[in-house]
Symmetry: D2
Subunit: 135 residues, 4 copies
């Protein structure tokens, strides 16, 4: 997803935040939102869906929060550090919860294994961006 970097560079406004760290966080949020949406659906299609109810719910929350975070981070005009910080904290928390839940089904369901990975990547990216912006 080099598009996120290209768009950061093409924007008239620049934040002081490290561009690579910001771009990685946007890319990770975008990927995690899609993967969580797909994982919720895959869980729903499993014969043992009754045992995956918590996983579906956690996926859906994580997808919603990651999508909102990706949008907030994609904006550089009139940047508000406090809003960014709180959204990143929420996103890291949602990703951490989803990674933990999906990891429990990772050996049985490949979609949960991939989803746990995407969540861990996104949680890490959020924490690194929080450090970069002084959160």
């Amino acid at each position: 997803m080099t598009r996120a970097v290209e768009m950061l560079r093409a924007a008239p406004t620049r934040t002081d935040v490290d561009e690579a760290v910001l771009a990685e966080c946007i890319a990770a949020c975008v990927e995690c939102a899609q993967v969580c949406t797909a994982c919720a659906d895959a869980c729903l299609g499993e014969d043992g869906v009754a045992d995956l109810v918590t996983c579906v719910r956690t996926d859906l929350d994580c997808a919603d929060v990651c999508a909102a975070t990706a949008s907030v981070l994609s904006r550089q005009t009139a940047y508000d550090a406090e809003v960014s910080r709180m959204v990143l904290e929420a996103c890291a928390t949602a990703c951490g919860a989803c990674a933990q839940e999906c990891a429990q089904h990772a050996e049985v369901h490949e979609h949960c294994r991939i989803c746990a990975e995407a969540c861990r990547r996104c949680e890490r990216a959020c924490r690194e961006l929080l450090t970069a912006i002084g959160g």
Copy 2:
């Protein structure tokens, strides 16, 4: 928006959270997301759009965060208090920032006056729900 209450009552799972406080927060988030989307658009249509750039950006962030919060709060199955708490904190922060920005244009632009009100209602509802869930 009594539908939010009806749906809380029709759900098989109940959280321990005060139903009225939760329903008010869902309704406030849903309303605030729509009003912020409309306010961003109204600002964009004003002759003096160049002076409303910060307002548009704050509206768009607030709309995204409120929409995600409404979705997370609308789920009661496999409730995760920590995710709810962090999302509510982020939402209250985004609403507070948007209310403050819109309030500065409230005397000139009726859409900003209404939006500031919707944001204040939503911020208050998030803080009350945070208290109710022990955040």
Copy 3:
């Protein structure tokens, strides 16, 4: 949800579309998105979730399409009739499909009964707005 009307009136730009019809459609989309999100979650919490898999999926699609439609309709600046028309067609289709699915569980699950009603209201509002804008 009189806020939608207030915001339409406070906007600097006015479309030629009947204000009451447009406001009803925005309100119906916003309500339907929330109700479908809650219905998907309620289905997920039922003991017989395995029999409600199609319902959850239809709810999630309907929620996503209604939310996008509400946002597109909330914008009056630089209005594009063709985009509005296609989005409304998609929304009416998603609502019709979800109403049909939820109606099958309406006698057993109160959340599905309410959801079918919200979907029917939204489908109707989309069709009336389509007629109003000449779609």
Copy 4:
């Protein structure tokens, strides 16, 4: 965005749709939603924002529709061809409108040039998927 393909393969349900065409469409929608969000913000930050009002609006609509389309397409359980078709038609229309608008500013604003490209890719991917599912 090979994650979208991996998730399609890891899912318990398979549609009859060509996997590569579906994955490309999901990836294009996800990318286009992010790029449009960033382009709307970049336009907002330009000195000549007053001349980019239509572009911001078109970007915001396109971002909303692409995000909803990505989510609908990421679900394979209980697939509904009619809903997919209508959503894809709406997405192709929104992308076509945004590509056309952004193309007009492509020589002056690099973010509009990139955005026009992302929209064209997404429009093409939607049309190809429509052909593949017989829309």
